[in-house]
Point group: C2
Chain length 227, copies 2
Amino acid sequence: MIELRHAGKKFRQGTRQIQALRDVTLVIKKGEFLSIMGPSGSGKSTLLNLMGGLDQPTEGEVFLDGRPLHGITDNEVTLLRRRHIGYVFQFFNLLPLLTAAENVGLPLLLDGLPFSQVKPRACALLRQVGLAERTEHRPDQLSGGEMQRVAIARALIANPAVLLADEPTGNLDSHTSEEIFLLLKSLNNQGQTIVMVTHDPKAAAYGSRIVTLKDGAPAQDISIGEH
Amino acid sequence: MIELRHAGKKFRQGTRQIQALRDVTLVIKKGEFLSIMGPSGSGKSTLLNLMGGLDQPTEGEVFLDGRPLHGITDNEVTLLRRRHIGYVFQFFNLLPLLTAAENVGLPLLLDGLPFSQVKPRACALLRQVGLAERTEHRPDQLSGGEMQRVAIARALIANPAVLLADEPTGNLDSHTSEEIFLLLKSLNNQGQTIVMVTHDPKAAAYGSRIVTLKDGAPAQDISIGEH
Ligand SMILES: Nc1ncnc2c1ncn2[C@@H]1O[C@H](COP(=O)(O)OP(=O)(O)OP(=O)(O)O)[C@@H](O)[C@H]1O
Ligand SMILES: Nc1ncnc2c1ncn2[C@@H]1O[C@H](COP(=O)(O)OP(=O)(O)OP(=O)(O)O)[C@@H](O)[C@H]1O
Ligand SMILES: [Mg+2]
Ligand SMILES: [Mg+2]
């Protein structure tokens, strides 16, 4: 489903080079629920961005369903991404002038569906993440954890083949987090492939596998029982 | 030090009213280390904003060192705030065109000190939060947890009487979080008053008292041993 071969990412900073990711070789099978953990700055968001085609590797290769994500045009990446990937950004990236329902519905609106057809599905997803009462709020009228849940609902609305989630519960209390993990677990049971970056060991326990990064490279790769 | 008397906050949303905070009466003594916990949307950020004069109550009163924060002009609030309060926002609010060191030094620069005098102190604080190697990076060249730590350092640079921190470790792994809590604990031991919103029970254990909000009102107020 997603494959990286000796993928790396260098950033230039002034006169220095920062090797954010180094030599990552990783295969994520269809239906897997992978958690990526590791210290702050260890390369987790960078890795997720490469998987989602949001950034290009500076070394090595990245494939989505056998098709290369590296070295293709922006337009090609955008099309692949919209059809296949739901992305929850570490800082949500909601559009400030749209309501929660409009933000959630955006991927389908961009695909040409009318809002009258999209809104019921957007509201159903918002209900699933506990925000039935907040559908008409704009981002500046929402709490941090409410914005985060809007972003999660938005990532799910187009039934993407892969869900990539960067710290989806960083702003949520343990009770609300648990509701989100149960939702993700049930989606995974129905076949949804999920890659989740998290700092929360309890979160990682919901998945089937944990990869831990250290200084830009995988240091540990553990499969969790019960298959 | 900080006192709220029957303080409340209503938001208008379309035709509805949202009572984000209701009837909060609370005293925070000098030198206290208070944690505020509660579910997503329970009013924690709203409460912290009232304490820091970033928002005005719609009912009741808020005092900082005996002086009212409610019902005074914006200029008066800004002056009080700059002299007395260090604020870590839930979403950092760093200036994108400034480096980490410049962002940290900003409160002192705004007070008229030259950067040549400010920079050594800013870099020392960045070292304390583990970012000695990131002083010249701009926010878009930093990871989520690195941006969060820059915001923490910025809140501390002017030696404020009160530190108000909204989820200061939401984007940090447990090891880095622990380093931040030990830093806050040692500042508190030296007399720093701290009010911290957190979802992390381990975090709350570093303080001397935990107030838990539920639907906009304090539901529990527990003092933790060892004084
Ligand atoms: N400008 C606004 N207009 C309408 N409702 C608002 C506004 N700002 C906040 N709210 C609502 O007030 C409630 C409290 O918000 P607040 O940001 O204080 O919650 P919180 O406890 O910090 O949540 P979180 O843990 O998710 O950050 C939320 O339900 C939110 O939807
Ligand atoms: N554009 C950039 N220029 C220079 N360095 C960068 C850039 N973007 C990221 N970095 C650096 O690359 C490293 C990895 O960043 P990344 O965002 O992947 O970390 P992370 O594991 O997601 O951290 P966190 O848990 O704090 O979110 C960080 O040390 C960061 O400073
Ligand atoms: Mg990150
Ligand atoms: Mg909040």
